[in-house]
Each structure stands twice: as structure tokens, then as C-alpha cells.
Symmetry: C2
């Protein structure tokens, strides 16, 4: 028996193809009676929607892999959703593969993963995507891949990528704090394995320099892209004899840690301390006050990366016309919310004059 098509369903239910499609996609714009008729026709005919699989000429659909090593749940989910969106468009499947970026046998592990699961290609996120040796090793073994990286411009090195200009956005955040009157601006690093953290620091450094503010190295604290490091880093900064009046955390998780450290020390954010993050994760909207941050279109970035990978795979497999798909850049945008405010000069001057911190300095780095 011929496999029933969406057209058969439309004919049986006496509706348009568009209406059947609306019901299948569960759109709300279909009247209840029509919807029931379509569902009835689908069930009578035994119709199975198979739009995506039909796009593929071969029998087995392609599956790609997403490789990540990131402590940030919101970030992973954003990337995953973007890659899944591109997969849905093209009928590709997605296998996920968390890994340890520091593993000495990572290249072998990923090649094994690709071979074993017969993957058509890999989406590499940072820091793996920024490990040149790894990328070379994979390419040498004919693994198709796309990289999501932090860079101010297209590296144009023969491997496809999408690149995010973290430096420019970090500059904007720092400039915003400077324009609010802050000159003592703390900076909490993200993980050094990620190029994004170097880029974000470079933006901070450049803005200070352009505004003639000397970088005080006591205000710069190393750490990872985690809440705990934000909390610990903020405690160190707030315990300084001359604490900063604003802190820029390299991502929203870090900024959330700063917020918890400040609030738990009885400080009123933003009046006693301005805080900015980076990424515009859901957390940045859900904290109180909500966080000033840089809106990074994580889902769009990941979708674009996966599209680039998939276009290459299809081109190889079907000899399709080369599609006009190029490496693409993204620029995160400053989003000002309640966690940043003009510096209170009175407070700063008071402290300067008295040379006495208002809070008892607490040099204990533990917590969280």
C-alpha cells in the first residue's frame, strides 16, 4: 500500500494543505471542529508526518554531534537549542557529547565518537573549538566540523566557524560603568582555556586605557566561569582597603556570585556597588536587581554554526550547488538593567577621607 501523504489527509478532511500543516504543528489558529476532522483523517489513513526525512535522498538520516565542556547549564541549553533548530530544519539528528577539555586523548576520543556513531560532523564549542591542535587533528582524520569561537574577526584559516566579538561588547560594558562615574572597576576573569575570557579582559583593559584610567592589578581576579568563583572573587575585592565601586563579572554566573556576595554582606546593589555580567542568560533577568549584561544571541549563534556544518555535509554528500554560506560574525549588545547605577561620590569621598572601610573586611575566601 502506498504510504499516505499530507495531500491524502487534506483531501479526506476536505481542508487545505496549509490547514493540515497547522494542525500537525499544533498551531492555535485552527477551529476546533476542523482540527478534529484533520486528526480523524490522519488516524484513519495512518498518516505519519515525515517532512524532514523526505529531504534526504539516502535511507539513513545524518546525525551530527555537539561537543561541549562548560559548567554553565543555561549556556549549554542555549547552544543545544540552536543546534537542534538547525537539525529540525534539515532532518538531521543530534548526539550530545560532554567531554573534558583537558584530556590528553581528546582528539582520539572525538574521532572514536564520530566513527562509532557514524556522525556526519561535529559542532565544537569553546574551549575545544579554540584548541588549534585538536582542530587540526580532527581535520586530518576527515572529521567535518564547525567551530564557535571568540574573535574580533574571521580567522579565515580554512575551517568553518562562527565568531563572536566579545572584546567589543566588554569594552561597551566597561565604558558604561565609566560613564556612570566609576573609576575603580573590578574585573573577574572567566576560565583561561576560553579565548572569550582573554577577549573580555582585552575589552575591559582597552576601555580603561581610552578613558585614561590606570589599571589597578589588585582589582583583577583570576577564576572560572562559575558562581562560586564570582562569590569568592567579590569577597576578595570587597575586602580591599580601597574596594571597587563597580565589578564586571566575565559572565552572568560570575556576576550572580558577586551579587550574592554583596547582598549577603548587607550591601545595597546598585547603590553601594554596581555589577555587570555577560551573556544575558535567563538568570540575568531573574535576579534582583536584574543584571546589566551583554546580550549574546547564544541560540542564533549555535543555529548558524550548525547550518554551516550541515550545508557543508550536504554539499559533500549530494554534490549540491555550493550554498552561499560563509563564516559569520556576531556582536553581543550592551543591555542596561538595574544592577548598575551612578557612583555615589559622597560615599567614595568619605571613604577616601576617613581611610576606613565601612564594612568589616572579611578575608576569608570560602563561601558559596
Amino acid at each position: 500500500m502506498r504510504r499516505p501523504t499530507i495531500k491524502d489527509v487534506a483531501e479526506r478532511a476536505q481542508v487545505s494543505l496549509k490547514t493540515v500543516s497547522r494542525v500537525i504543528n499544533n498551531e492555535t489558529s485552527v477551529m476546533q471542529g476542523t482540527r478534529a476532522r484533520v486528526l480523524h483523517a490522519i488516524s484513519e489513513l495512518g498518516y505519519e508526518p515525515d517532512v524532514t526525512a523526505r529531504n534526504l535522498r539516502s535511507g539513513t538520516p545524518f546525525v551530527i554531534g555537539l561537543v561541549y565542556d562548560n559548567p554553565n547549564a543555561y549556556h549549554i541549553i542555549g547552544v543545544q537549542n540552536g543546534v537542534l533548530a538547525a537539525c529540525r530544519e534539515t532532518g538531521f539528528g543530534l548526539q550530545i557529547h560532554p567531554c573534558d577539555a583537558t584530556s590528553p586523548l581528546l582528539a582520539e576520543e572525538l574521532i572514536e565518537f564520530v566513527k562509532r556513531s557514524r556522525l556526519a560532523g561535529l559542532v565544537l564549542t569553546a574551549p575545544m573549538s579554540e584548541n588549534e591542535e585538536l582542530v587540526q587533528a580532527l581535520a586530518a582524520r576527515d572529521v567535518s566540523l564547525v567551530r564557535i569561537i571568540a574573535a574580533t574577526e574571521d580567522p579565515d584559516d580554512g575551517h568553518p566557524c562562527v565568531y563572536v566579538d566579545d572584546r567589543d561588547a566588554a569594552y561597551e560594558i566597561t565604558e558604561h560603568l565609566i560613564q556612570l562615574g566609576h573609576t575603580r572597576i573590578g574585573f573577574l576573569w572567566g576560565g583561561l582555556a576560553h579565548k572569550s575570557s582573554t577577549e573580555r579582559f582585552a575589552g575591559y583593559e582597552q576601555a580603561l586605557q581610552d578613558y585614561g584610567i590606570t589599571l589597578d592589578k589588585h582589582l583583577v581576579i583570576p577564576g572560572d566561569y562559575t558562581f562560586d568563583d564570582g562569590f569568592r572573587g567579590a569577597r576578595r575585592l570587597l575586602a580591599l582597603r580601597e574596594p571597587p565601586t563597580a565589578i564586571f563579572g566575565s559572565n552572568d554566573e560570575i556576576a550572580a556570585g558577586v551579587l550574592a556576595a554583596a547582598t549577603s554582606a548587607g550591601m545595597n546593589v546598585p547603590y553601594d556597588l554596581s555589577i555587570a555580567g555577560f551573556e544575558d542568560s535567563p538568570f540575568s533577568r531573574q535576579s534582583w536587581p536584574p543584571l546589566t549584561t551583554a546580550k549574546q544571541a547564544t541560540e542564533d549563534i549555535a543555529r548558524q554554526a550548525a547550518r554551516l556544518l550541515i550545508a557543508g555535509i550536504r554539499q559533500d554528500a549530494y554534490d549540491e550547488h555550493p550554498i552561499a554560506m560563509h563564516n559569520q560574525g556576531f556582536a553581543p549588545q550592551l543591555v542596561v538593567r538595574g544592577s548598575t547605577a551612578p557612583m555615589r561620590r559622597d560615599r567614595a569621598q568619605e571613604r577616601q577621607a576617613e581611610r576606613l572601610p565601612e564594612r568589616t573586611p572579611d578575608r576569608d575566601d570560602g563561601g558559596g
Copy 2:
């Protein structure tokens, strides 16, 4: 040429098998020189670690699918990590498949997903796992599956599952609030499609009843498992003529919304309002004050579910001895943190006497 084994590597590097394994697994307990020797041997021999694939007798490894429809990133990542842990133990691959639980053609979509990607089975999370019609439809088409569900006991209905006793944990949370002196305890529902939300309400209701407190229906607000619904629900409750002195949000996202609503209204949590959540997501430890909640071992629960599914698949495929794997129950545990405190009787009595709310009631339900 014979494929090199881990034994070849050990011989070449003149170390034990255990040491090679330690290097492969990137454990820190290996001396730098030894580590370099092992890596050198691996590279010379072209050894590729293939521990997991060897567990499978057939050529193609099995892949299972994880099906979810949940707005909560932390929850998804927890489930995903648990399923991935079970996959790693057994060399299985994981494809992920977010879906729309309300889609009328969900069964067809999932059958298509299984067939197309040749999956060995599915891990179903709520609410799909609690949709009996869907489970029957999948089972009728020979789809192996395991369900993660909310239930006080094993449903013992022929389909494998792990079940989580949300009711008992919700009872404990409500009891904790009552023992702190609260009698006006608000309850914010999670999504009705999830059985967990009904179970959590049942626990709340039962505790009130056991302690002789009449349930005031004005204190119970419908909603979904989201921050926004927590924020809106709390605004409604706090605008009541007799607002609650404690609010139990059905999960941590909801409780986070309550915390933001209370803090943004100038309230001091927990002194002006006690707040409890459910799940022990990272957020519950990262907010200020940290949230009293019920610790749900999401990762363990998901790993156990995936183990159950995989054991069944291997049994079918290899005719393995039936393994002693049964449906298993989990009981979330009360975790008391800073967001709950004894009721301030003075405040409650004052209000009762004056019949005047301290804050201007705000009946605007918008926000977030």
C-alpha cells in the same frame, strides 16, 4: 596490522595497565615523566581507546533517545547528565529530542524519531512519561522505553519506570513552614500537565489538614513551572488584604520568582516572608538568601532510569541473563536554608489589628 591494545601501550611505556588507564582518564595521580612516556607510547602505536565499544558484541553501538519538554534549563541538564552517565557506562550513544507535549501527533513524531534514527529505546520525562495514551501507543509499536514519573508508589503497570515521591517531600516542606509558626501559607502550582504538581499540592493540602489549618483557596494560585509565574503569583498573593507569611513555590524557578517579587517590593526575606521551593537546583543555592527546598537527586534518578532501559535493551539483544533491575523509587529530602524563618507574630498581629496592609497593594499582575 593488528589494532594496538592498552596492553601494548603498557608494555611499550613499561608501566602497568592501571597507569595507562589513569593517563587515559586524565587522573592527576600520575607523575609527569610517566605520563609523558605513556602519551608517547600511545602516539607511536597509534592506539585509540575503545573501552566502551568493546562492551558491545555487534558492530553498531546502540543509541537511545531522551525526550523532554521542560522550560527549566537546570532540570534538563541534570536529567541529561544522568542519562549520559548511564550511556558512558555501557557505550551507548544519546540523541536528544525536545518536543511539544501538547502536540496531537506526538506518538507519531516519537515513533518516527525512533525508526528514523534507529534508536534502541527512549527515556521519557514528564509530562510525556505520565501520558498513558502516549505510553501505550509507543509500546504497541514495540518502542522500548523507561519513564521518570511522580508517584508515591510503583505503578507496576508493566512499563519500566523510576518514580519520585513528590507528595511526601511537599508534605515535609509544608510541615516545616507550619512548625515555624506559619498558618497562612501560599501555594503556587506548577504546570497541570505534570503529575508532580498535583502530587506537590496533595502534600501541601495533607499537611495543612493534619495540623488543623483550613486551606484558604485565595492562597492557592495556578501557574506553570516558571520564574515568571512565580513572580506574578507572588504579586497576587502579596496584594491580598491578608497576605500569606510564607509561600511554597512548586519548584525552585517559581520560588526564585517569588523571591524577586518580594525583594523588589522592598520586603526582607525571610523576616517579612518565608519562601520555599522544590528540586534543589543550583539556583536554590545561588540566590540570596539561599532557598529552603526539597533535594531531588535529578541526576541519580535519570541515571537509574537510563540503566533500567539499557538493561532491558541488552537483555533483548544479547539474551543476557535477566538482570535484577526493578522499578525504583526516590524520595526528595527537605533542605532548610536561609529563605525560611519563624513567623514574626508582632507583624501578623499588627496587621490583623489595624486591618491595613503595610505595603500599598498592587493588583497589577504583570511584571517579570
